[in-house]
């Protein structure tokens, strides 16, 4: 089973990399980019797990313990096949 974890800064937390990306896009002539937020995608291959809910619970635990810093980041877990 495969899990995809999306980690991003919480709303309101200043994303200086996102700001630089938005500025660069504007500099390239792409108008109307009001904001860019840079996050991370972590793909996990999970062996020996067949139950989706069990997988979701385990990956959520991984997010709380390591993959995200919940002081500044939020996360979303996607369970693929």
């Amino acid at each position: 089973m495969k899990a995809i974890v999306h980690v991003g800064l919480k709303p309101g937390v200043l994303d200086v990399q996102g700001k630089a990306v938005a500025n660069a896009l504007t500099g390239l002539g792409f108008g109307g980019v009001q904001e860019a937020r840079v996050g991370k995608v972590i793909e996990l291959e999970l062996a020996h797990l067949t139950d989706r809910e069990e997988a979701r619970a385990q990956v959520t635990d991984m997010c709380e313990k390591l993959l995200a810093n919940t002081v500044i980041e939020s996360y979303r877990v996607e369970i693929a096949e």
């Binding site: 937390v13 200043l14 200086v16 630089a20 390591l66 810093n69 002081v71 500044i72």
Partner: protein, 220 residues
């Protein structure tokens, strides 16, 4: 005073920290590998050094905060033992939730490596008492992820409780409220972005970091 310096893969200020500790306290620091389970018996003071532990992968300090030795460091802190995190060590302490907040990418997006002027915001701590006769000092910083962030409520509490220990006079990284160092509510765990171990050698023209280790010697 019995000191221990924790060595993570990618630490690079561990030796400098050990030399500074030995110079000031007169006793050699134990170098403790991050995979160890225990601190040497009778350890009074633990230093988490600067560097780029685990290559700053995922987030600065994220992996190190989950290293086996951190369980022992946490126990030591809970018993009231002294812990200082410098730079990457500060990042590790916030990731381990032994200190509040987080250290994020510098506002200017550049690595900043220079001496910074600091206000001694609280000279009544185990880490700063030797600075009580002065209001300012200057210590070098060297970091890309040094922008201290916490929510407003946490920042208000830190300020209200005198837990902001050092403040930048010319903020190099966009840290909230110019914060360069914070201490826990027990007063025994401090994190600072500036590197006191780099200015604690009498052969250099300045000794502005000496006071951190001198304070610890008096506290232990």
């Amino acid at each position: 005073m019995k000191s221990a310096v924790i060595v993570f893969p990618g630490s690079n200020c561990d030796r400098d920290a050990a030399v500074a500790i030995e110079r000031v306290t007169g006793a050699r620091a134990a170098m403790v590998w991050h995979q160890d389970q225990d601190l040497p018996a009778g350890t009074d003071f633990v230093l988490l050094p600067g560097g780029f532990s685990f290559g700053d992968y995922l987030r600065s300090g994220a992996m190190s905060a989950r290293s086996p030795i951190m369980t022992a460091v946490r126990r030591h802190a809970e018993r009231g033992g002294l812990v200082l995190g410098v730079c990457n060590g500060f990042q590790i302490l916030t990731e381990a939730r032994l200190l509040p907040g987080a250290l994020m990418r510098n506002a200017g997006l550049r690595f900043v490596c220079r001496e910074v002027s600091l206000e001694i915001a609280n000279a009544n701590t185990s880490f700063t008492r030797a600075y009580r006769a002065q209001r300012e000092t200057a210590i070098p910083v060297a970091h890309a992820d040094g922008r201290f962030f916490a929510d407003d409520e946490t920042l208000d509490r830190l300020e209200g409780e005198g837990r902001v220990v050092l403040r930048y006079l010319d903020n190099p990284n966009g840290s909230a409220r110019d914060i360069a160092a914070v201490i826990n509510d027990g007063g025994n765990v401090m994190g600072m972005m500036p590197h006191p171990e780099r200015v604690s050698d009498p052969s250099l023209d300045r000794l502005s970091g000496w006071g951190v280790f001198q304070s610890l010697l008096e506290a232990a």
